[in-house]
Symmetry: C2
DNA sequence: TTGAAAGCGATACCAA
DNA sequence: TTGGTATCGCTTTCAA
């Protein structure tokens, strides 16, 4: 910066101001900009952050980047936060709380301005870290009873119950659930729980549950799960899957066995992934606005940031809880 | 850090050393650690980077995070770089060179130790920035003639040609190509080019090309593209698609029209996405090890970093060019 | 093994 | 509108 300053014949402060877009005469601004281009100067963000006491980072944690659900959420966050000069520090927890803790700890070293993370399953240490961080935190994709700070999500339990009722309305009684084996995927566990509760409430007898595969559940898990299900409970009328991915795999397995979906067996998914509208038969599912979760989370963070800064016109209170809309989408498969 | 130091009854330097895992007596180490836990101290990475002149960031740019291809590559990079204490700064260019330039510029402010980016299509300014950065750079997914620095990829042109030959060997002559409309997706353009070259080389007459949709090409693009193709060239025998995603969409469109794949029309994809092995019929494709590209890129960067540091045992030269293996995978659809 | 002092490259604050 | 100075929190370097 000194080099730029002397080349432009001004002080470092003036260079700093030009870079920050603050008051400066047009002539000065031009000379400085010219010097910057000349030298190929790139300001050091670490120095800036240290000096100003504020970074330009927003920390974002998702369980998996390869699930389109979460990459959509990241896109939503990007769309909202980037225009405000925030850079996303993206971390992939791989559904492991210990890994999440490590990542949070590492990200906190960069003094992020705010933190968005997925779900409510954190280690005690992570929770303490988040609370002590002093920055706005939003947990996404669930509506935890005891959130760390803000929340943008929906009840996976209720959504799953609604799907069971939909299948029941279609006349099905022997309804099964295909989920993942992991205890760490809380959204998946909640959907299973919703299934169990509703099946019980409707008096449909013993739940038929097959749990197979690590999260993120992909289409490769659906086939084997469906095979196991048909082995154990061959008279199953309808299957709801923890996600559209496994539903697709399950439907493919049915086709291989010559079972017609939905005539021989109905199959429903969850999440309204692109595939469920494209494939044949199209998949009945629960639509969730993954991108919207990201947007809303980003907006909540910005509001909290504005409130913390005591900005004019900013409401003094945060948006503690944003409930995201979901809906059963009837299609061909169930 | 001062607080930690005085609580532990040592100097700041000792705290710093304990944090860095350097020489310190066991007793000291314990007292310092205790003080850290007590106070919930989190070291400031910006200050550390400023002081030491080196950050812990590795910059990674991909065209899209929602394509499993690229998220797999990011996973590969993570697997290799993270154990070396590097934190990934991930950016999504959305296939826009101007956006890439903005992101590179912003990331360079954080003084990344190395840079991995996708493809060879950069603005002139981006190229200059990369060259001036002075850190190892790797371009992935292509084998550009004039790389910025290192390269890990394969020839999309050759791979596409190989697929055309495969289809020709199956007896097809009237072969079409379904691709995206964007001129900015170089991998897609190269595959198209490979198709055109090989069709011409084989004397199969005028190329039949349908270009439709923005990158990343998803399964939703395949159906309309196939519809347009059949409209214009109803007697097409085989179709190769720019990716498995569009191939899947195209096959679904065929099913809707009562066309049997591959009997009525053969369809091939590219990339060996999970879906192509799961769906029905399974999709003939070109397998590319996306995760491996990430791994190899990470390894090349680490080697370059070691060489730059003049490390004992490190070869003095970088791995300029890593050619990634690809192969046509015959399946049911073609 | 430990400590003291200097400085990394910006920005905040106060003056001119 | 511009400049000088102190300072952010850490690591490097040198000395004990």
């Amino acid at each position: 910066m000194s080099d730029v300053a002397s080349l432009a014949g001004v002080s470092k402060m003036t260079v700093s101001r030009v870079l920050a877009g603050q008051s400066a005469s047009e002539a000065t601004r031009e000379r400085v900009q010219h010097a910057i281009d000349e030298l190929g100067y790139v300001a050091d963000a670490a120095a800036g952050a240290l000096s100003s006491g504020r970074s330009s980072f927003a920390a974002v944690l998702v369980p998996s980047l390869s699930s389109s659900n979460f990459s959509d959420t990241v896109s939503g966050l990007t769309a909202v936060l980037e225009p405000h000069g925030l850079e996303l520090l993206i971390g992939d927890t791989d559904y492991l709380p210990e890994r999440e803790e490590r990542i949070v700890r590492q990200m906190l070293r960069h003094q992020p301005r705010c933190i968005a993370l997925t779900g409510s399953q954190h280690t005690a240490a992570t929770r303490t870290l988040l609370e002590r961080s002093g920055v706005p935190v939003v947990e996404m994709w669930e509506l935890p009873a005891a959130p760390v700070d803000m929340t943008v999500g929906f009840s996976n339990v209720s959504a799953a119950r609604e799907m069971v009722r939909y299948l029941a309305d279609k006349g099905h009684r022997r309804i099964a659930f295909l989920g993942g084996a992991s205890e760490l995927d809380r959204r998946g566990i909640d959907r299973l729980k919703g299934y169990q509760l509703e099946v019980k409430a409707l008096g449909f007898g013993e739940p038929r549950v097959v749990r197979l595969g690590d999260s993120p559940i992909t289409m490769s898990h659906g086939g084997p799960a469906m095979a196991a299900l048909l082995e154990r409970w061959p008279d199953t009328q309808a299957v709801m899957c923890v996600s559209d991915m496994s539903a697709f795999g399950a439907i493919m397995e049915c086709q291989r066995r010559g079972l017609v979906v939905p005539d021989d067996i109905a199959v429903a998914g969850f999440g309204n992934f692109e595939i469920s509208a494209c494939c044949h038969p199209t998949i009945t599912t629960v639509s969730v606005d993954a991108y919207g979760i990201g947007r809303r989370a980003g907006e909540a963070l910005l509001r909290a940031l504005a409130a913390d800064a005591g900005e004019r016109g900013a409401h003094a209170h945060r948006t503690a809880r944003t409930r995201i809309h979901y809906a059963v989408v009837p299609r061909e498969s169930a």
